[in-house]
């Protein structure tokens, strides 16, 4: 395949042009990249535009609760070994944002697309993907999102009869439940630190048994499938039994898992693991995440953690005490307005770090940390927090809008 060889219909071309114009107006008005409004305008003019744009691409979809933006980037880098890639790299992951991203890549061979969990089934129908990567599912924004198991159920319904190869995490029972309705699955042992959304068997409701890395339901026999790819420490194990070392610039276990999944996806398109992994090493930061910035003469690493599973993975990658840590939490619409989830996060793991808390909901954090029995300081804003941090690189962990606030504050 060699990109968009057939031209789009006049209607689709008009829709693309109108979308780009709307995006330009939105940018000029200072309202972000304009990709979402552009996509909305274009889809209004041509409701089938997404389908048409995707027609000439080999499409990979990436969905999960956590890690989808990073994994989308890693897969895109890997596939560039074979040809041009178009991708919604900035994380606009609903149909409008996806349409807008694809409209920008008329000569591309591959479309690597991050999809919001709730939209996966619909987008998968529209774009006829060649591969779908499913990383994990866990609780996130429960005041506005569907229940976690219901999401898995919707994935399962949407993926049954799907012709794409599904590359799925064998270590997440909800993902396995969702993917196993599909005939063509490549299982990756990618790990999953967070286990608290899958103690109940998604198939029958029985209590899940989880000895070591294994899991199974003793009542109905639903169990962990045998993986053909695996993350093993700092290596990716491929189906032939070869171990490929991972030398990412991105930190943490979760990103190694994302790399393992990305390598399995790349292999499905004929990119060998060694080539795929080497291309992933170029990635330093993804949409500001993991960036180390200079602020007030200090080095700050910016880490995004949106939900309990994300915080857990983030705690395991930060530098050890006495590295200072700034925590920032908001509860605006995009974050979920209920802060109860803070109590699913084991903040006791931060004991020994000097901790400063900021954000709209710093008092929720204060009570959480007080009950966890760890010391902390409540600060006014990033500048105040940085002033109070003892020397050394600062680890900064923030949830969604708090992360955006922080990037603005430090000029990232």
């Amino acid at each position: 395949m060699a990109g968009n060889t057939e031209p789009l219909s006049p209607r689709s071309r008009l829709a693309v042009t109108a979308g780009k114009a709307a995006a330009a107006v939105s940018r000029a008005a200072g309202r972000g990249s304009g990709s979402v409004i552009g996509g909305k305008v274009a889809l209004k003019l041509d409701p089938d535009l997404l389908q048409r744009l995707a027609q000439h691409l080999d499409v990979v979809l990436v969905s999960a609760t956590n890690g989808k933006t990073t994994t989308t980037r890693l897969i895109a880098e890997a596939l560039r070994a074979n040809g041009e890639v178009v991708s919604n790299a900035l994380g606009a992951n609903m149909p409008a944002g996806i349409t807008s991203a694809l409209a920008g890549g008329s000569s591309a061979r591959y479309g690597v697309i991050e999809v919001d969990e709730k939209y996966l089934s619909g987008v998968a129908k529209d774009v006829t993907p060649k591969a779908i990567a499913l990383l994990n599912l866990s609780r996130d924004q429960l005041d506005r999102a569907a229940e976690t198991r219901m999401l898995a159920e919707r994935w399962r319904e949407g993926l049954s009869g799907q012709k794409a190869v599904i590359v799925a995490n064998a270590d997440d029972p909800l993902v396995v439940w969702a993917a196993s309705s599909s005939p063509n699955v490549v299982w990756v042992a990618a790990g999953q630190e967070w286990k608290d959304d899958a103690w109940s068997c998604p198939a029958c409701g029985g209590v899940m048994q989880r000895p070591g890395d294994d899991w199974f339901c003793a009542e109905c026999g639903f169990r962990r499938p045998k993986p053909t790819w695996a993350l093993s420490g700092d290596h990716v194990l491929d189906p032939h039994g070869s171990a490929w070392p991972i030398h990412l610039q991105l930190p943490g276990r979760a990103n190694k898992a994302n790399a393992a999944t990305s390598a399995a996806v790349a292999a499905a398109f004929g990119v060998p693991p060694q080539v795929a992994l080497e291309r992933m090493y170029a990635v330093k930061a993804v949409a500001g995440r993991y960036d180390v910035v200079q602020y007030q003469g200090r080095d700050m690493r910016l880490l995004l953690a949106k939900n309990p599973a994300g915080w857990l993975e983030t705690f395991s990658l930060i530098d050890p005490p006495p590295t200072p840590v700034i925590l920032s939490v908001n509860a605006r619409g995009a974050d979920g307005t209920d802060t109860s989830w803070l109590w699913d996060v084991d903040y006791g793991r931060l004991a020994g770090h000097p901790i400063c808390v900021i954000g709209d909901r710093k008092l929720d954090l204060a009570v959480r940390l007080e009950v966890a029995g760890v010391d902390f300081q409540v600060c006014q804003d990033p500048a105040d927090a940085v002033r109070r941090c003892p020397p050394g690189r600062i680890e900064t962990i923030a949830n969604y809008t708090a992360f955006q606030d922080l990037r603005r504050a430090v000029g990232n």
């Binding site: 209920d338 802060t339 008092l363």
Partner: protein, 242 residues
């Protein structure tokens, strides 16, 4: 029980721990230890028997199917009802609150039997889901300050004559019956729709549970600076126009 120990049982975290419910256990545990109590916390999964020797039992919120499974397993087990017969304290939230009643509507749209430890019946609301901050006044018999929390439920809970409301809402929906009541209690069994978690937002309720279990009227004071700051902020946010 001895005067220096507290057995805290967290019921079925594998099924009913969706909205930070662990927080309620952590707050009771922390505040009991601050009063010099030796706390034994026991987290009981739904394939394990409920011990009958606990002092305080906490049950959290959850999704619709886990709620049905939890009710079935609690009824089959029988331990929680025996514990209450022995004078144990139960504090139940949201899905757990509904299970304490006579019946509730399950994920299949059918009526499921609850434990009947509270004289309440829950149905499914026809109106929009109740989501958002709640502010209320506690039942005067409980002598508690204002209630603050976050609700997220479709269920509507009707109180019978055998219970009193835990409080009355100034903002939010509470039981969802339109009469302004929120939660229910009688003797040593309490139910509420409030998350937050509710005991982090209302540490006086955690203290009430501890006092009941020790059979004392007062506890040594604790430094509640941050709890109070959070409470004032949330109460102010609830009363200010958005």
């Amino acid at each position: 029980m001895s005067d220096t120990s507290l057995r805290l049982v967290w019921v079925y975290p594998d099924l009913l721990s969706t909205y930070g419910d662990q927080g309620n256990a952590l707050v009771v545990e922390r505040r009991a230890r601050q009063r010099g109590l030796d706390v034994q916390r026991l987290d009981v999964r739904s394939d394990q028997p409920i011990p009958t020797s606990g002092d305080i039992y906490l049950i959290g919120g959850g999704e619709d199917r886990p709620q049905r499974l939890a009710a079935e397993r609690l009824l089959r087990d029988g331990g929680l009802t025996r514990a209450v017969d022995n004078g144990a304290i139960v504090f139940a939230v949201c899905a757990g609150y509904q299970i304490m009643g006579h019946e509730f509507v399950n994920d299949l749209g059918e009526r499921s039997a609850g434990l009947g430890l509270l004289d309440v019946i829950s149905t499914r609301g026809e109106a929009e889901r109740c989501v958002g901050d709640v502010l209320g006044d506690a039942d005067e018999q409980l002598r508690l300050p204002q209630l603050t929390g976050f609700e997220n439920h479709q269920g509507v809970t009707h109180l019978g004559p055998g219970v009193r409301p835990l409080g009355r809402v100034r903002l939010g929906h509470g039981n969802g019956t339109g009469d302004g009541t929120e939660g229910a209690w009688r003797d040593t069994v309490f139910g509420t729709y409030l998350h937050g978690p509710v005991l982090a937002r209302n540490p006086h309720i955690a203290d009430l549970l501890i006092k009941l279990s020790l059979d004392v009227n007062a506890l040594p004071p604790t430094d509640d600076t941050w709890y109070e700051a959070l409470r004032q902020e949330r109460i102010a946010a609830a009363t200010q126009p958005a």
